[in-house]
Symmetry: C2
Subunit: 618 residues, 2 copies
């Protein structure tokens, strides 16, 4: 074959690619290592782009984690920027491509190849998507351009400048926060009936409430139809036919017909693995559409490894292949791919290789993710309830509300926690946490618990750090674990808002006092709280007077109790059971979870445009 030996070529030089290169060097000092990067930068801080736009990260320079010069000086890694690879010749062990912008051809032989091509933004065929003031935020130049127009608009605008962000996923929320911080009026448009589609709808509803309180306008359940410019607005286009994309957009038309005027538009509709090269080279793709790899990040070609957004990997909860286009997995995968590629590349020259090269494995990920949007933070690890149900798993869920540190120490903020587990064996499937402070810690604790195979009730046993500024003698995760433990040990019977709603719906004969032939609903909050609203038909008996008011309830009926967050009603449930009530269930997450379920559920039921806005303000 005349193939080169000990030469590692890496396609793509951001997170996974740069990580693969430096790991390869660490275990293979004598290899030639070449990064081919189509863009203008290597190893930049992808996840920092919204913070640069928002001005929290001041300088463009701060986004550059490593430069080509640094990679050469320290690691003897050759970086070729603006080198777009267009084909892999697996037979000849060569990649071919063109140098941008002029298109000179190049070819690079390899003895091992790493594909770290990343992902491509989802770009639906929306007319006007290419207009100059419709931005996406994937590269440093895009971020620089956006920040420049943002700052110019802020200075120029007579009134408050307006921006529309399309897509309310993690990036969309970060961009919305950034533009809000820059003084914009921000409208966030999402086709799904909720923000943060990976979250369960009621958890997302809490985030939505906060976004609205912060002044972000939400348009949910409605999609972008067309970005229109001034020509169109004013009548027939002056030139170039209907799609005068050279002109800036002045408004976004939505599927519902609504029209959102703005100066700046940012589109973040998610990403798809960039597998074109791999597919054309005949490498095996997985069921998710990502490149299929084993635990060594090896593709179906033993000389080719892949890492980052382009690959599918194992979801450690389901055991199934999944796509996790996230920085954490990309970095870990890159490290493994580099380690393995270094071992394979050395080939016969094994004596030049660190003897331990090729020993790393990547076992999979949980899809742990977090987003801060102004004063609210939301995180998720493992499966959401909806995803667990979609996987056909038996599912139990529990909600708890507790302060992120000791209540007697000033500044405690509420954390709303949802745990998802298997009721049969207590296996922890996932968690979602929404709150102002301390979200990241609780998500990380549950992510670690899942990796360690802890059962949900074992969260109650966790020995977590406590001093008043940091936690509580019973940490929110311990409390969530205790509540789940009570359910798993059948000490208390929990009911979710969804289950209660279906029970109430089924009780057609339900009277005004909430006492039906089969079901009574008891609100044990105090009068100041119930004055602000309660579930229709609930009997209002404050917890501390429950024992004196037992005669208002029928012990033979099925009883559901609730309070604000589920803790007081748990006490109420135990009191009622102690007094011989036949069947008592505690509404998990209390009135807060109920309200959030209502807010999200109404919209889901309506399944149409922009009804949540009304539901929320109703």
């Amino acid at each position: 074959m005349g193939a080169v030996t000990n030469r590692i070529v890496i396609v793509g030089g951001v997170a996974a690619g740069a990580g693969a290169a430096v790991r390869a060097r660490r275990v293979n000092e004598s290899a030639e290592i070449v990064i081919l990067e189509a863009g203008d930068y290597v190893s930049f801080a992808n996840c920092g782009l919204p913070y640069y736009v928002g001005g929290e990260i001041k300088e463009e320079q701060q986004l550059l984690v490593q430069t080509p010069e640094q990679l050469w000086r320290r690691f003897r890694i050759q970086v070729r920027l603006r080198h777009r690879v267009t084909a892999i010749d697996r037979e000849a062990r060569v990649v071919r491509g063109v140098v941008l912008p002029r298109g000179e051809e190049f070819s690079e032989p390899y003895s091992a190849l790493v594909l770290a091509c990343g992902s491509r933004p989802v770009r639906p065929p929306i007319p006007g998507l290419d207009r100059p003031n419709v931005y996406q935020l994937r590269t440093v130049p895009e971020a620089v351009a956006l920040r420049r127009v943002v700052e110019a608009a802020r200075k120029r605008s007579s009134g408050q400048p307006r921006a529309v962000v399309v897509g309310a996923g993690f990036i969309g929320l970060e961009v919305a926060e950034a533009l809000l911080r820059q003084g914009f009026h921000v409208t966030l448009v999402e086709q799904a009936p909720q923000v943060l589609p990976p979250l369960d709808p009621e958890m997302a509803a809490l985030v939505a409430m906060s976004l609205r309180e912060q002044g972000i306008e939400l348009v949910l359940g409605d999609g972008a139809r067309e970005f229109v410019g001034p020509s169109k607005a004013a009548g027939p286009a002056p030139s170039g036919g209907e799609n005068a994309d050279g002109e800036p957009a002045t408004a976004l038309l939505l599927a519902s017909g609504r029209r959102l005027e703005a100066e700046i538009f940012v589109v973040g509709l998610g990403v798809r693995p960039d597998v074109e090269l791999a597919r054309e080279a005949g490498l095996q793709l997985g069921v998710t559409g990502g490149i299929r790899v084993d635990e060594r990040m090896q593709t179906s070609d033993p000389l080719i490894f892949a890492a980052g957004d382009a690959v599918e990997c194992t979801d450690l909860v389901t055991g199934q292949p999944a796509l996790f286009p996230l920085a954490g997995p990309a970095n870990k995968q890159g490290r493994v791919a580099g380690d393995q590629a270094a071992a394979v590349a050395a080939g016969a020259a094994r004596e030049k290789l660190a003897p331990e090269a090729g020993r790393l494995r990547f076992r999979g990920a949980l899809g742990t993710a977090i987003v801060r949007a102004g004063t609210i933070t939301a995180g998720i690890t493992g499966l959401s309830e909806k995803r667990a149900r979609a996987c056909g798993l038996p599912v139990a869920v529990g909600y708890t509300v507790s302060g992120h540190h000791a209540g007697y120490y000033p500044g405690a903020k509420s954390l709303f926690i949802k745990l998802v587990w298997s009721p049969q064996d207590g296996r922890l499937l996932g968690a979602q946490v929404v709150g102002a402070e301390g979200v990241d810690k609780r998500i990380d604790v549950v992510a670690t618990a899942i990796m360690g195979g802890l059962r949900v009730e074992e969260l109650a046993d966790l020995d977590l750090a406590y001093a008043p500024p940091f936690g509580a003698a019973k940490d929110p995760i311990v409390i969530a674990g205790m509540a789940a433990q009570n359910r798993q040990l059948e000490i208390v019977d929990g009911i979710t808002p969804a289950e209660l709603a279906s029970m109430l719906g089924a009780n057609a004969d339900q009277g005004d006092d909430g006492v039906t032939s089969r079901l009574q609903l008891v609100d044990v909050r105090n009068p100041q709280e119930t004055a602000g609203g309660h579930i229709p038909g609930a009997i209002l008996i404050p917890l501390d007077t429950l024992r004196e008011n037992l005669d208002k309830l029928d012990p033979h009926k099925s009883t559901v109790v609730y309070c604000a967050g589920g803790q007081r009603s748990y006490i109420a449930a135990q009191i009622l059971k102690g007094h011989g009530f036949a069947r008592v269930q505690n509404l998990t997450g209390g009135y807060l979870a109920w309200k959030l379920y209502q807010a999200s559920g109404r919209l889901n039921a309506a399944g149409s445009t922009n009804s949540e806005g009304q539901a929320e303000t109703a």
Copy 2:
């Protein structure tokens, strides 16, 4: 026996006692539940007392988590304050005692008893310890009194008021912070040669540096000998002989002879389990001196349970009995003791009991603890290196230094992490983390990992939440796990500062350039860094010029490389190995760990008074 049925008596009403009472009620609605508390309060925020003294917690009222009235209203729990139990008559199933302050006798029959007597402060026989301005901080009245004199002293003092805190454990540091915050000049005295004796000395040295930078004067390796008053200072005591304890102290005399003048003295020398009642009742005590209990918190008497600071429980790392006088374990133990006592108390009246009562277990704790002292936070979980060695376990340790969130996002602060594990099987034994931000999260992640049985190298696989404000694509714990993984897979050979020091000491023929007959030491930091100091004898070769300077090194010698924190020197080690160097070791934790080891080690070697102060400023 004529004994009562379904009557639960609980001795002690703070964390464990109050927790036991409310849990008992939740599973046993018909029991009579009585708390006998010797003090003036139940269920107060023990851990909040220093923050009340420091003024962060404004009102005394905020310290009261539950009042007797609340416990009656909600839980029908009878609280008898100022009831000191003096004896348990196990035959008659009665506790007896006196009502304070007048000493009326009382007796309370029980069908199940919970001992939650807590702990007693260690009070060595130091003359003058009872002087009125020598405080301890164990109760609300003590905190109220101390805050009053603190605020008065601040107003009165012409110069800066002075305070001496004796004992640099967790509480001592919190008190020192509180007094510093109140404007005092604070001197912190500790008999051990380090602050925070549960930590390893080099980790404590980093805390000590920060305390000094914040203006706290540290006196280590020196003990309190006598609190002396003005009479003594002025000559013979005017009345009452040598111990005129009615007079305030004006100074503390130390074992070394040093004299510390101050207006306020606070003593926090740790606690011992309060087992007097249990011992006199013939209950079995454990090897640690705490009350011996099983996983149900049952003592050697099947009707008596115990929880909180008074009991010993299983150290989940060693499997051995241990004392963990901490709020987290106390709350969990109380919950289990209440659950079990409720089941036992019901006895024949089992139908009145929630059928699930008696199913909780307490399996043990890790001793996870955290303390904030001004701008520095230190946390520990599991075993320290010294405790692991004392247990005879095989021990590997690794240090890493990394930013608590992405470096390109503003405000990243260094976290110094020490992992302790078993080199044979990678079993995680413990962790210590010191830094300004994010310490609690990393300690909790490791605590959860230990509970889940993760091996140290599996920390590298953790899928933790990442967005720029919260973490890094490679979280500090993931980096620590990767470093440990490299060691466990023998990709890199680590050496600790202690091992290096012993190697250097053994090289008597060491020359000025650090090249000896057997060992060469290489500092790969850049010149700006090495200008601030380096290990004597090190050859200075910045990492990025290492490949060009290989001729300055002898590949046949044993080589130790180091940088600031251990990451660049790991790269250097791999370069040297790749160029055929026979044996290369990386100094874990780098120059920082070395300096901290020196700071602590010198003192340990000296083993005498107050030498660290000199070492630190040398």
